[in-house]
């Protein structure tokens, strides 16, 4: 250890650091959502559907415009056994003073009795190559349970969510890999909101 501390100070006066790192919001005041990758099941009808050539993924988050919560690019539809990688990572500000609306939105999800309201919904969308010819079409949905994150106190690291068909939500057509750093902020929101309820 003495070697290490000696090392850290050696000649550091010759190096000028432009600025200290900016103070970043605490983990209890932000969340990070990452759409990592996507694969379709070998038997999924979408693989054979020539009208689907490229896909992107989006989710809705309270006041955020879709342009900020959809993957910035559409990627070629994955082939059987292939995974396509977006690595689309977004940090959402959940400042307790400035972003009460977003915190309420998350609290409502945590509290939802209806299971369809209790999760973050990701939509896989087919992006037609010829934009004039066809509309974007929803190809599948994946759901991330927020309650589990609160309950376990653990962030989600590259978890595979089932993608289900919009026509029949019992039919699994693929897997969407996502990460979610939100355990700390969900805990903070739940505490804050339930305190309000009982005070």
């Amino acid at each position: 250890a003495s070697e290490a501390s000696e090392v850290q100070t050696t000649d550091s006066d010759e190096v000028v650091v432009a600025a200290l790192p900016q103070k970043r919001p605490a983990d209890s005041e932000k969340m990070r959502i990452e759409i990592v990758s996507l694969a379709f099941c070998p038997e999924a009808a979408v693989l054979a559907d020539d009208s689907v050539q490229q896909v992107y993924v989006e989710y809705k988050f309270h006041d955020l415009p879709l342009s900020e919560t959809e993957t910035p690019m559409s990627l070629r539809k994955p082939r059987a056994g292939e995974e396509i990688h977006f690595h689309f990572s977004k940090v959402i500000d959940l400042d307790p003073l400035e972003q009460q609306g977003r915190r309420q939105f998350l609290f409502a999800m945590l509290q939802a009795q209806d299971p369809r309201q209790g999760h973050l919904k990701f939509t896989v969308v087919s992006d037609p190559l010829d934009e004039a010819a066809r509309e974007c079409e929803e190809v599948g949905y994946a759901y991330l349970e927020l309650w589990q994150v609160l309950e376990s106190g653990r962030d989600v690291v590259e978890q595979e969510l089932e993608i289900v068909s919009p026509e029949d939500q019992d039919v699994v057509i693929g897997r969407l890999k996502v990460s979610l750093q939100a355990a700390a902020v969900l805990h903070s929101i739940y505490q804050e909101m339930t305190e309000d309820l009982w005070s």
Binding site: E3, V7, T10, E14, A19, H87, S89, K90, V91
Partner: protein, 379 residues
């Protein structure tokens, strides 16, 4: 709020992106008092900077002693390797977990991980200080070093190539051995002008401008047709590139090639590291990056899963795996980029050096003078 930023001096600054260990892995920058960077190299998670005053500064992960500073503790600030001060350091090459250094008298030193003999010291024991590779003397006249995942290379002025370390995939060009712990000349009929070690593959350019690849054959990263892959342990000509080749850079599973006319890429592009768009995730056939055909590219660098290009007017393009912010395109919101994207941070700078590593990118750039909004603005 952060501290008010000190303006970058006219002599420039080193900009850091991704998991560098510097500045808590946030995009940041630093510079030297009375000295400037001349050469940058990145390993998987460590970085070397060689300065104009021939000093070597190291920082980053240090699990294997790859910083050569006498410990295995990670180092968060560029730290001078004092032990090498008596000799002028000229070049450094960071492999995945080891480091090679060339000094002005022609000595080659190595530190770090050594499980395949990549330190060239005759054994497989790791070192946390720089040890001289006795094989090399001033007579070898070394002009370039390169290091991969447990592989090492040194190239002489007269075109002789020496390699050592891991040969499990034939990536140091020897046919019958798993690894070698001392430098070994790669016997090849023609003099060689450039070497690049990727993670498990390697490539060199002959003085007449031909590209040869060898090592791991998977995912198209050798740029060779299927029928030639059986001989992947021997350097083979990449015939798919018609022009004279100037530079090659090998990444984790991809290869980028700069010719007189264009930039070609091949190999795996699942994260966009080929820069060939959102429909090509793998190719064994070298393909031109059409998007930047109108630009004159002067330098290319490949990290494990990303690529950076410098243009003749000092702009920088990046593409590939966007995780950790290593593409230099934002503070906290990232995505993979499948086409070359100009790094807007450097529109006001001239990019002079770039090095891509496993999870980071280092850039040396100096402020542009005589641009609108610059010093002329007030006149």
């Amino acid at each position: 709020m952060g501290e008010p930023e000190t303006p970058v001096p006219d002599s420039g600054a080193v900009f850091t992106f991704g998991k560098t260990k510097f500045a808590e892995n946030m995009p940041s920058k630093f510079w030297f008092k009375n000295d400037i960077p001349m050469y940058l190299s990145c390993g998987d998670e460590h970085t070397a900077v060689v300065t104009g005053n021939n000093k070597l500064y190291m920082f980053g992960s240090n699990n294997w002693g790859q910083l050569g500073l006498g410990s295995r503790a990670a180092v968060k600030k560029p730290t001078c390797v004092k032990a090498l001060k008596p000799e002028k350091v000229q070049l450094a090459a960071c492999g995945r977990n080891h480091t090679l250094v060339l000094t002005a008298v022609g000595n080659v030193y190595a530190a770090g991980g050594n499980n395949e003999g990549q330190l060239g010291l005759g054994d497989t024991e790791e070192r946390n200080t720089f040890h001289r590779i006795s094989f090399f003397t001033s007579q070898h006249n070394i002009k370039q070093l390169s290091a991969g995942s447990n592989t090492s290379a040194a190239l002489s002025e007269d075109g002789r190539l020496f390699m050592w370390g891991d040969n499990s995939e034939g990536q140091i060009g020897l046919n019958n051995v798993i690894n070698v712990c001392v430098p070994h000349q790669v016997n090849f009929g023609k003099p060689i002008s450039w070497i690049s070690c990727g993670y498990y593959h390697s490539a060199f350019i002959t003085m007449d401008g031909e590209l040869y690849t060898f090592g791991e054959a998977e995912s198209g990263k050798l740029g060779l047709p299927k029928e030639l892959l059986i001989n992947h342990r021997t350097p083979q000509l990449v015939a798919g590139i018609p022009e004279k080749v100037l530079q090659v850079a090998c990444g984790g599973d991809h290869t980028a090639v700069l010719t007189e006319k264009a930039v070609y890429t091949f190999g795996l592009g699942q994260f966009g590291q080929l820069g060939l768009g959102t429909f090509i995730f793998e190719t064994s056939e070298p393909k031109v990056i059409e998007q930047i055909k109108h630009q004159k590219i002067t330098y290319i660098s490949c990290g494990e899963n990303h690529t950076a290009l410098i243009t003749d007017i000092g702009l920088m393009y990046t593409f590939g795996d966007g995780r950790h912010g290593k593409l230099g395109l934002g503070l906290e919101n990232f995505a993979n980029q499948f086409f070359p994207i100009v790094c807007s941070e450097f529109l006001r700078f001239t990019v002079q050096l770039v090095a891509c590593g496993g999870c980071q990118t280092l850039v040396f750039a100096s402020p542009r003078i005589n641009v609108v909004g610059g010093s002329d603005f007030n006149q």
